[in-house]
């Protein structure tokens, strides 16, 4: 099942590649149609997923190369489930949003589908070698997407994106190598199996170094301040679909990695590093927001807002409490939806006006009321308005991190003010007032296709905002297990209110 989830997009990519080259116009519809297969599979997974089970489900394991101890080892748990779902949802949307790509359409669809396979693979891999393979492999399609279909400085941005991220992966690679060597020394055979590696007996120094190695890779991917500067460039230059997938899913590899690997593998080091991680997360939250306020380019603004929002996820991870973890996990999904939607919207206006500069707009609400409404809705979801999805994650993170790291949580809460400032100020400048520029007066509102793109996102934002249980139920057991792992392997004691066991025990009114 999980194997199929990875292979189907890959096969779909091959199918699209094999389409006759004189029928260029077929690529996009075919790719779009095929991208529903993984969506269906993931949907099945999502609803078949057993809540309340902490371990990995739907696991599949096939030996890849025995002497190295590598295997095709897949599984999904509450932490990765949402991300898989997010990926399969955003891919069709990203494809459908790319009708304006007329140059080398086929390649574009192929790369997008390959990207999907890679992303899903990263989230499902339980073997570190396999994880790294996917983790690094996704760079290539994204590199091409930015580099070929981006705007003016696309090459610079693509290069920076690739090299910067690869720089982080280098440390990840070295650390993975080290882990397998340690396993070899302790148990006589190398292994990359996450579960087996968790039983390694590492000295504190070792685990700190390895934590740092993993940490840098993921921190760059997230990105955590001060390793974030590739992100604005990449986003600004990337085509709409690229931005959507980059912000929506790809950045989550970093936050996911922190949760999945850093905490599981090096719990003591993680506990010791909490002030550093939380500190950087909080700096990111505030810094990203402050910098976002004055950005003259809409996409850049959204990009910096990502830096800020992802800080919350990292903070939730560093909180080492149930609510914090849950918040982090669900915020992963939420941020993907809202920021993905924002990038889609910016893309729609860019296609009409060929500019993303805030100052070029003004009074758009008058000429494009539907667009304005959707933008405002999404902006509020991003600001963290309760009732919409953004709130649930951020609130859980804040509430969850207060018991363990109150100072950081308090400063982070400040970020919610700034979020309102930068998004609403941008909204004010773009949409309100009278449309006095002649180019803006002729703009047409969204067409049915564009509205159709937004509808699923809007619906999900509402559903996850009001009924996050659908996700929370599935994550709870896994986050609890993670917390158990951290608590048992370290000197760390979860603060009294950091657990939610009793809340779940009292749950009976279903």
């Amino acid at each position: 099942m999980l194997t199929a989830l990875i292979l189907v997009p890959a096969v779909a990519a091959v199918v699209v590649m094999l389409l006759p080259s004189d029928r260029k116009e077929l690529a996009l519809p075919v790719g779009f149609a095929l991208s529903f297969v993984p969506l269906a599979i993931a949907g099945y997974l999502f609803f078949e997923f057993e809540t309340g089970v902490a371990g990995y489900q739907f696991t599949q394991k096939a030996v890849w190369y025995e002497p190295w101890g590598i295997s095709w080892n897949l599984g999904v748990d509450g932490i990765s489930l949402g991300l898989v779902a997010l990926s399969v949802i955003l891919i069709p949307i990203a494809l459908a949003a790319s009708t304006t790509i007329t140059d080398r359409t086929k390649e574009f669809v192929v790369f997008t589908l390959l990207l999907e396979a890679g992303l899903i693979g990263s989230f499902l891999a339980l073997d570190l070698f396999l994880f790294f393979v996917f983790f690094e492999a996704v760079l290539v399609p994204m590199y091409f997407i930015i580099g070929i279909w981006g705007s003016e400085r696309r090459i610079y941005a693509a290069m920076k994106f690739f090299i910067f991220t690869a720089f982080g992966s280098a440390f990840l690679l070295a650390s993975i190598v080290a882990l397998s060597v340690f396993h070899n020394r302790q148990f006589g055979s190398p292994s990359f199996d996450l579960l087996e590696l968790m039983s390694l007996d590492l000295t504190l120094d070792q685990s700190r170094w390895l934590f740092a190695g993993f940490g840098i890779a993921f921190a760059i991917k997230v990105p955590v301040f001060p390793l974030h500067t590739w992100l604005p460039d990449a986003h600004v230059q990337a085509p709409t679909a690229g931005s959507v997938l980059l912000a929506g899913v790809m950045l989550k590899l970093g936050t996911y990695g922190l949760l999945r690997f850093n905490l599981n593998l090096f719990p003591q080091a993680a506990v010791d590093a909490v002030p550093i991680i939380a500190g950087l997360a909080v700096i990111g939250i505030i810094y990203g927001a402050v910098v976002a306020i004055v950005q003259p380019d809409l996409k850049k603004l959204v990009a910096y807002s990502s830096v800020s929002h992802l800080g919350f996820i990292v903070l939730g991870t560093a909180a080492l409490t149930s609510a914090g973890f849950q918040g982090a996990v669900i915020q992963n999904v939420n941020h993907g939806l809202t920021t993905g939607a924002l990038f889609l919207l910016v893309g729609m206006i860019y296609e009409r006006r060929h500019t993303k500069k805030i100052e070029d707009f003004g009074g758009l609400a008058k000429v494009m009321p539907i667009f304005a409404g959707l933008f405002l809705f999404t902006a509020f979801a991003s600001i963290g308005l309760p009732g919409l999805n953004g709130f649930v994650g951020e609130f859980l993170v804040l509430i969850g991190s207060f018991p363990s790291i109150p100072v950081f949580a308090t400063i982070a809460a400040f970020g919610v003010i700034l979020a309102a400032i930068y998004l609403l100020w941008a909204y004010e400048r773009v949409f309100t007032g009278i449309p006095d520029k002649p180019e803006n007066q002729k703009l047409t509102d969204l067409n049915a296709r564009e509205i159709g793109l937004m509808v699923p996102l809007v619906v999900l934002m509402l559903v996850l905002g009001l009924y996050p249980k659908i996700l929370l139920d599935r994550t709870a057991a896994s986050t609890e297990a993670l917390l158990d792992r951290v608590e048992q392997a370290t000197t760390y004691e979860v603060p009294e209110q950091g657990r939610l066991a009793d809340v779940f025990a009292g749950e009976g009114d279903e």
Binding site: E136, A137, R154
Partner: protein
């Protein structure tokens, strides 16, 4: 001992050098045939391919023999020694040697196909070129299959001298003969250094047979092994030159750039295979007990090669020079596996195998784009290649990504293997250097991809590559991807290839 006995060679031995014989005799036949009948060049090419294929078939037979030998029981010990060490133990028939032949023959076949256009251009000299190619392959294969230092030297010289000539075979081009003379002068100095190292080793240990040296060293404790150490140092330097490890790399970029485009891939790959085959056999078989001495040395060379190769490749505007420097870096990566000693043989061979295939393929693309008989290949010629020649651009991309070591290519598995071995051997710092160097390396590989896919095309049309070129490039790319996804079989095969 009667005269007859002396004349009768040990009957078991021939199979151990059958591929070399096939290639050597084949080379001679091609020359003779050409003189006598002036056949079509296509026929010559097919004949050469057939020779290589025959040699490959013998190598497979050898592999089978080695398999049987490895299961030999104690009472077959005498038989085993006779079979495994024919020719008075000058030659060894082991998995290491066989794997070296596989790699060498594969590279020769690919190189022949990918550079075919060069042989067409050479006109009357095509047969010479082909014969030289076969001869150099013979020499380098001997380097892999001998346990005697003198034999190694002979192999080295047979291979190298043939390469000197090949580098200058398009003598009407000034770059070509400049490359040849540089290669020749520096190469012969390196050979002299190597053989001096052999002499000193002989002086220090009393033998030139690697197994005997190992035995001597194991039985005796040297209080002042200076002569022996200098000998080892000189041999390492000599081989370091062949594999273009820094600081003995300076010939490589110049020769890669100046030599005829059609053959340079083969030249680079063959020298690497020969050099590494001999290096690991010398170090692992004769001096495993000195690993704590030569290990750090090799590590130092590796680190220097990786850093220097990557950084200087960064600023190259000529693809062939860039590949030259990247070759320096790759020498460093492979040496990263060498520091692990015998345990790392499999990973080193794996790396060598996949890298040389990529190398030949990459140079094949370069030759297809900028011409097989030319020197140099400015990056401008690659602008917008994806639109002008999508197939070439796609294969080049795969090969470059493979060299860069991106996952799902063989290059990644190879890097992963040597890194693991180095870490296992305690060279953590070297692994860190290596991963950082590979990040730098990403940059210049990607730069080519940028030119091909993201920049506006230049007007020059690219002549559609011939069938042999396309086949070889497709094969090289396919190998890169398939091995990247299913590395197991090749890894196991390489894993068996530790020297006896």
């Amino acid at each position: 001992m009667t005269f007859a006995q002396v004349l009768t060679p040990p009957s078991v031995g021939w199979i151990a050098i059958a591929p070399e014989i096939v290639l050597g005799v084949g080379a001679a036949l091609i020359l003779l045939f050409d003189v006598q009948y002036k056949p079509k060049r296509t026929h010559l090419g097919l004949a050469t391919a057939a020779i290589v294929a025959t040699a490959f078939a013998f190598a497979i037979v050898q592999y089978d023999r080695v398999q049987t030998l490895s299961q030999a029981t104690a009472d077959q010990a005498a038989d085993f020694v006779a079979t495994a060490f024919p020719f008075d133990a000058m030659i060894v028939l082991d998995a290491n040697a066989v794997f070296g032949r596989f790699a060498m023959l594969l590279v020769t076949g690919l190189g022949l196909a990918a550079g075919w256009r060069l042989f067409e251009r050479l006109g009357a000299r095509a047969a010479e070129g082909l014969a030289l190619m076969l001869l150099s392959a013979t020499g380098f294969m001997f380097m892999a299959s001998s346990t005697h230092l003198m034999m190694v030297f002979l192999g080295l010289e047979v291979g190298s001298i043939a390469l000197y000539v090949l580098a200058g075979i398009t003598r009407e081009r000034t770059e070509s003969d400049e490359a040849a003379i540089k290669y020749f002068l520096l190469g012969s100095v390196a050979s002299a250094v190597f053989i001096y190292g052999v002499a000193l080793t002989y002086a220090g240990s009393g033998s030139m047979n690697l197994l005997e040296i190992q035995g001597v060293l194991a039985r005796n404790i040297f209080t002042r092994p200076a002569v022996l150490l200098i000998g080892i140092a000189l041999m390492v330097v000599g081989m370091g030159f062949k594999v273009s490890a820094a600081p003995f790399h300076s010939w490589a970029p110049d020769v890669y750039q100046g030599a005829p485009g059609g053959i340079v891939g083969y030249m680079a790959a063959a020298a690497k295979i020969g050099g590494f085959a001999a290096l690991i056999r010398i170090l692992f078989t004769a001096f495993p007990d000195f690993i704590s001495t030569w290990g750090p040395l090799v590590a130092g060379i590796a680190a220097l090669s990786m850093l220097l190769g990557s950084t200087v490749a960064l600023v190259q505007d000529d693809i062939r020079r860039m590949l030259g420097y990247s070759g320096v870096a790759h020498a460093g990566f492979i040496l990263t596996g060498v520091v692990a000693g015998g345990a790392g043989t499999g990973e080193v061979w794996f790396y060598l195998g996949v890298y040389t295939v990529q190398l030949v393929g990459a140079f094949g693309v370069v030759a297809a784009v900028t011409g097989a008989a030319t020197s140099g290949a400015g990056i401008d010629a690659f602008r917008g290649l994806s639109k002008r020649a999508p197939f070439l651009a796609a294969t080049f991309t795969v090969l470059l990504l493979g060299m860069a070591g991106l996952p799902l290519t063989s290059g990644f598995v190879a890097k992963f293997g040597v890194f693991t071995e180095a870490w296992q051997a305690g060279y953590e710092w070297l692994v860190i250097v290596a991963v950082l160097a590979s990040v730098i390396a990403f940059f210049f590989y990607l730069r080519v991809i940028v030119a091909m896919y993201m920049e506006e095309p230049v007007d020059e049309a690219v002549a559609p590559p011939g069938i042999s070129v396309r086949a070889s490039l497709a094969l090289a790319s396919l190998i890169t991807i398939v091995i990247g996804i299913v590395p197991g079989p090749l890894l196991s095969l390489a894993g068996e290839a530790s020297p006896l």
